[in-house]
């Protein structure tokens, strides 16, 4: 708890930035890789944060061009080479920063400079499909091999647009030296966390990102009270006209957040980097985050479990699904489909992607192969109650207004319920 630790708070930021400008020119445009506004779509300070190349990516000269981020590209390389050698085609694998792939596809695709295949997240679908830059993928025959929620996530207006390879959702990290057994309820967790905090064992009992406020990490608590973001229709698609941020359950959750700030259970000053630092240094007993952070706590003993019931309600985290998509402007669509269906929907490929990305695979056979890791199994278990993150473009209007509402609650600037009601009316005005 000495002062040097506070200095450490800035170290990840420095490291991140140094990594970003390593060997590259300083970024001229505002660097979008810092998760200031939408912590969900841009996973905070992940290994994916390192900007790969700032110069515009131009389609490589090959039969099949794949854009993947620098984490996954190495895992794909051997499969791409195998595909190329077995079938006498030329395959090019280009590294593009994860967060840049979507925007670059939208601009490069229609101009004929885009790839055939990209790696991406399912919540990009709304934007990509509305813009007409991705092509459907026929998953007939694979339905039983893939996790249901993964296929559902990649379905948009009756068509499937991606081959999923991994799922991700938040769970509860617990320092097993401080808390040997997982709490059965959220109330028990609060008691333990506040106890450890008050007797000075830890700096903060439980940490999850709150600076900036983070509707993604907060969502399980909202759903535990029956709140939701968009209503779901019977076929599993989200209905943008049914906004649930001012539903009774969500308002109850808003009060819960104000209460947690009051009791000191929750600090409003935890950035993603601070969370990693506090939990990773044993200064926090619990953390709420996702499988991408599994490798970030080498110095503490920890276990992952689903977030326990809050006030009797079951928390449902957002489930994000990552997958491959085919560009609508692919020069070689049939070849791209062949590569995905025959080479990427395999246990071997999905396990390879799991090994670099740490997320539970979407292919059931691959998931079973890695599920002997209890933490991965726990994330899978936590995701069972989860709901796919809405992919509809209206979701873009939600993040910012909801983030602001949380900040106003954290700072005591507004009554909790009024803050959520205001956010809801802001979002409705933007959607209409």
């Amino acid at each position: 708890m000495s002062n040097w630790r506070k200095w450490l708070a800035v170290v990840p930021a420095v490291a991140l930035v140094l990594a970003a400008c390593n060997g590259e020119e300083p970024v001229e445009e505002p660097p979008v890789e810092e998760p200031v506004e939408e912590p969900v779509e841009e996973e905070p300070v992940d290994e994916e944060e390192e900007a790969v190349a700032e110069e515009p990516v131009v389609r490589a000269d090959a039969d099949l061009v794949i854009w993947a981020d620098d984490t996954r590209a190495p895992a794909l390389r051997s499969f791409a080479e195998e595909f190329g050698a077995e079938n006498e085609v030329e395959v090019a694998l280009q590294e593009v920063a994860f967060d840049d792939i979507r925007d670059r596809l939208i601009t490069a695709g229609p101009a004929g400079e885009g790839p055939d295949i990209i790696i991406g997240a399912h919540d990009w679908l709304g934007e990509l499909v509305e813009n007409g830059v991705v092509a459907p993928i026929d998953l007939t025959g694979l339905q039983d091999d893939l996790i249901d929620v993964a296929i559902q996530a990649f379905t948009y207006v009756g068509q499937t647009y991606g081959l999923p390879y991994a799922t991700e959702n938040v769970g509860l990290f617990r320092n097993t030296d401080l808390v040997p057994d997982a709490p059965a309820t959220w109330e028990e967790l609060e008691e333990i966390a506040l106890g450890l905090q008050d007797d000075g064992t830890v700096r903060q009992g439980i940490v999850w990102p709150s600076e900036p406020a983070d509707p993604y990490h907060n969502y399980p608590i909202v759903t535990a009270y029956g709140g939701y973001v968009f209503g779901m229709e019977d076929d599993g698609t989200y209905d943008p006209s049914d906004l649930g941020i001012d539903s009774p359950g969500a308002l109850e959750a808003a009060n819960k957040f104000a209460e947690m700030i009051d009791t000191g259970l929750m600090s409003a000053d935890i950035s993603y980097a601070l969370m990693l630092d506090l939990f990773g240094g044993g200064d926090a007993a619990f953390a709420i985050t996702g499988p991408w952070a599994l490798a970030d706590f080498p110095d503490v003993n920890f276990e992952v479990s689903p977030i326990p019931p809050v006030d009797g309600g079951t928390p449902a985290p957002f489930v994000g699904v990552q997958g491959f998509m085919i560009s609508a402007f692919a020069e070689n669509e049939l070849l791209a489909q062949t590569f995905l269906l025959d080479y990427m929907a395999t246990t071997e490929a999905q396990v390879a992607l799991y090994e670099v990305g740490n997320r539970p695979p979407a292919l059931i056979s691959a998931f079973e192969e890695v599920a002997d890791d209890p933490n991965i199994e726990a994330f899978g278990e936590a995701g069972i109650d989860g709901v796919p993150m809405p992919a509809i473009p209206e979701m873009a209007s939600v993040w910012e207004a909801w983030t602001n509402a949380y900040e106003l609650i954290y700072e005591g600037e507004m009554e909790p319920e009024a803050a959520f009601e205001d956010a809801a009316s802001q979002i409705r005005a933007l959607i209409d």
Partner: protein, 543 residues
Amino acid sequence: MTTTTSPGTDTQPSVPGGVDAAIRHGDHPLSRFGDTLMGVFVKLVLLGAVNGLGVLMIVRIVGLDGPWWGVATVAVTTLLLDGIYLGKRKLPLKYLIPGTIFLLIFQVFPFVYTFYIAFTNYGLGQILTQDQAIERIERVSIRTLPDAPRYGAVPFADGDDVALLLTSPDDEVFLGTPDDGLLPLAELDVTEVDGRIVAVDGYERLSLGAAQDRIDAFTALRIPVEEGEIELVSLSAATMREQTRFYDPDTGLLTDELTGAVYAPSDRGRFVNVEDPADTLSPGWRVVVGTENFVRAFTNEAIRGPFARVLVWTYAFAFLSTFGTFALGLLLAITMNDARLKGRRIYRLAMIVPYALPTFMTALIWRGMMNRSFGVINEMIGVAVPWLNDPNWARFSVVLVNLWFGFPYMFLISTAALQSIPSDLYEAASVDGASGWQRFRKITLPLLLIATAPVLVSTFAFNFNNFNVIYLLTGGNPPIAGAATPAGHTDILITYTYRIAFESGGGQDYGMGATIAVLTFVLVAAMAALSFRWIRPLEEINE
């Protein structure tokens, strides 16, 4: 106000009549350099590179089916450059042309393009051309028939004819051809090598690479069967599919055969159901919508809501940043300029540090240091100051951090300007018995302002649009309670625009972003014009 993006005013030669006078007298070193052997060689190499680039661009434009005027522009420009630099005369042009070309490419073109985008609906769902949109709508409407069997497929070819070796779900194997449909393998002449079928009835097995070379034939391949047509879904699988939406180029209408609905193109760049205006198809295409974005910017409550507050704060931020950095930079420059100060070089070097570090790195470090509970500043003073959490503190913090970023630049400018003030003026003043303050007020400041006033104007304009500092330090937060649209207490126009155009607006709205950029440009340009009028009397002092 940092780094390379500072406006160009500070790089222009400030020596009055320097280059021009030198050219007029014909003794400028460069004009002689051009006549030496080395000079001719360098000139030819550079011109060769320019011509090469021109040819490359023309080949590229033609290759992409680009417009004829693109080719013409490149050709004419290249020839013009050759004419100017190979000719003996037109000496002033030789100096002006490179700058003019860069001005056109990097200043005029982006502005004209931004202006054009401001008049379109370019944004979510409207990024394609109409032809591309039609193709996408038709393609996405292709559905696999319910209960259609999925065949394993291997591409075969006989000369120009292509066929597929199809394996049904019950492991029956057929040769599928466009003319004869499915032929059971048992009736055909099959050649096997190592248990692999390599030829059937004159058709030979193709590798994927070989199939890829005839991809158009395979994409178009339809094998007729009783229930419909079999087509490839990948190069190793085939099934029966049908297209449900068709565009008729003669009528310009698009029909959905499943529902019978007819869609007509609207002037908003969408296909709209003629009977139900709420039913539109994605994607749409980009169209010119006239002044609509401007009308929206001024009338839409969601955009206009916090606009006035944001505008006022933008001016305050730019003003405080500019004059704060100028005052601090000048003060330090005067101090460092004093010959009595020991180790001035070291101090001066230290002053430059904030200027030399990239903004986006140091802004994040400041953000960490200013964290209320865990930041090092509050740890040291032992008080939980809400640096970035309270509206007024947050405003103070962004100005403070920007002061830190900005003063080295002003320090450099002021130091240079101070050193150019003739010392005999000060000697004369001391002889006349002027006090230190009088000397500063009557000599230093007026002469300094001549050199620095344009810099102040450009710094003001830069801070007016200082996205990095605001976005990275506070992201515009803390939020304004009860605002009609998400906005924060430290948002300036440019970060507010970013929110509207890219973050909160339900997807990306380039048209609206460009509109607000144009409006911001008008504001800044008007201000700059006024400022320069105000500066003019200062410049006359020098003449």
